[in-house]
Symmetry: C2
Subunit: 340 residues, 2 copies
Amino acid sequence: MKLSAVTIKDISRELNLSTSTVSRALRDSHEISIETKQLILDYARKINYKPNRNAQSLKEKKSHSIGVIVSEIANSFFSQVINGIESIASKNGYTVNISQSMESAERELMNLEYLTSSFIDGLIISVSTETKNHLYLKEVHEKGLPIVFVDRVIDEIETHKVIADNFKGAYKATKHLINKGYSKIALVSNHAGLSIAKERLEGYKAALSEAKIPVKDNMIVFCDHGGMLYSEVESAMNSLMRLRTKPDAIFAGSDKITTGCMRFMKNKKIRVPEDLALIGFSNNDLTELLNPPLSVIKQPAFEMGEAAMTLLLSMMESKRPQQKFETRIQSTELLIRKST
Amino acid sequence: MKLSAVTIKDISRELNLSTSTVSRALRDSHEISIETKQLILDYARKINYKPNRNAQSLKEKKSHSIGVIVSEIANSFFSQVINGIESIASKNGYTVNISQSMESAERELMNLEYLTSSFIDGLIISVSTETKNHLYLKEVHEKGLPIVFVDRVIDEIETHKVIADNFKGAYKATKHLINKGYSKIALVSNHAGLSIAKERLEGYKAALSEAKIPVKDNMIVFCDHGGMLYSEVESAMNSLMRLRTKPDAIFAGSDKITTGCMRFMKNKKIRVPEDLALIGFSNNDLTELLNPPLSVIKQPAFEMGEAAMTLLLSMMESKRPQQKFETRIQSTELLIRKST
DNA sequence: TTGTATGCGTTATCAG
DNA sequence: CTGATAACGCATACAA
């Protein structure tokens, strides 16, 4: 960019000083006289000097920028997470590089390879539903790249993981339906391999078992791409509606799936029982304005983003190059908003 | 980062070649024999060589990354815009650096200064409601930083601007209400200084005038921070509800304001006429699932993001260093979804 | 306290 | 076709 025509060299030439002196003044070093420092600082401000970050990064071997990979930015949950990340990052002089995997393991890997070209100091990632192969991620982690997982984690990689209490959320949601008198509760879930999906499934099962309601496999359907396409949710719901004993309540296992289920129930291409209940995860602000009210489990997305960035900061700035991280942050603030 | 322990130098040492030869092979230069090229490429792949982007950037004076500044990521409209930007950017080998102004001119300037530290090759920005002082933006633009405005533009800066047809959208929305028999139509708008707010105001006025309905100043209220805080919308609505002749319909001038109005009407801390109509801009997917249906003007946000990034690419890759851009992309696909 | 010299990893220019 | 060398802008070890 032409912006930074002005460099340290320009300043040193103009002021008849060496570049190192100028550099020291700018870096606020002690080994420099107050007067020269002030002189340099004043002049630098006057001509609007801005350090070249690429040169700094090359020298310091630190880019002061982090990478963030999520499945889709335009998803309330993730955009709120990113909001939290950005707010902490910018306060600490870090730049946030965002890319989305669109639930594709291939795109995820591409983004990952690109970002890790000795470019980012750390990574916050929420893996895609497709992700099965963690080789590359594991490799860069072992080579020393600080990584924090958010929401969708990989157990095999030992590092900080920021997750909500999915088990409890799912348990509560299911139990809520049970308390309301529903007994044929179906679960429409994310890809079964996803960490959060597993935990939510366990919560769902626990609530049912506790109420002595048998867990039926045909009442549990998966959207392998997280409901990225509506058609995925549609076929999941269709399969449920075609059962001889239809569910009387649906528990939707993710933001996207919740929206998809609502859409399905509204469209009514296939006959849907009038009183079919729906509860689900959602971070969309509009859910609280729905009529009739929709029961919802909301994740503390912003806080999770903040926590992730804070942890990443501590890792990046830790002097100890390698360390075992086994901290698990449990964000417990899950709320059930309304009753169905 | 320690990831890129492997450099060109390592390869050259191992293969008994000079760094320049290696560099040429990697850059796929013509002036190199097929065999050595293949040899180098194979070895590079084998040891998983990744070029150091900071060094490249320093050399090329190009970072292959762009800056994006929006008011808030966690706003459906902007997150969809970013989605569009990112999809085009990643296809073209660009990294997207995102920061949010939270409708604060101060934060906006800070982000801007940080991003422009000879770091980004181009900028896509949707200015904050507060922005009045364009000096810095103008300065960097004149120094040659390619800039594309999205949605909220600054007329004084001559560059590409990607905007929806706000006039038409507002005109249609207002006209729609008139056709439905409403005559006391209030407008709750963004800061009056915002380009989009002006255009929407004009559309609103045009529709009223056409129907020979007088435009009343007290029926037009502004949220100076774009409804960033609910309280802002609340007081705007309160002032309308306290009028001796209350409006029979509300036209909400932005995503955030639409949500705020819905919330206000639902809360009913103050008496709101039962049949008060609401129409507004919104890009939230859930609006189509609302009951009763909410009339909505939806912006082609994703497409706007794509267009902005495409234009920015053309500017960044244009050989001509400076040029007058006066193209205005009018995204015409505005839809009124449901009838109130 | 200040200046000189060197290197970060890459590419480009110039010889060979 | 290949190699040596310089340069991008900055920071630091070392010298003065």
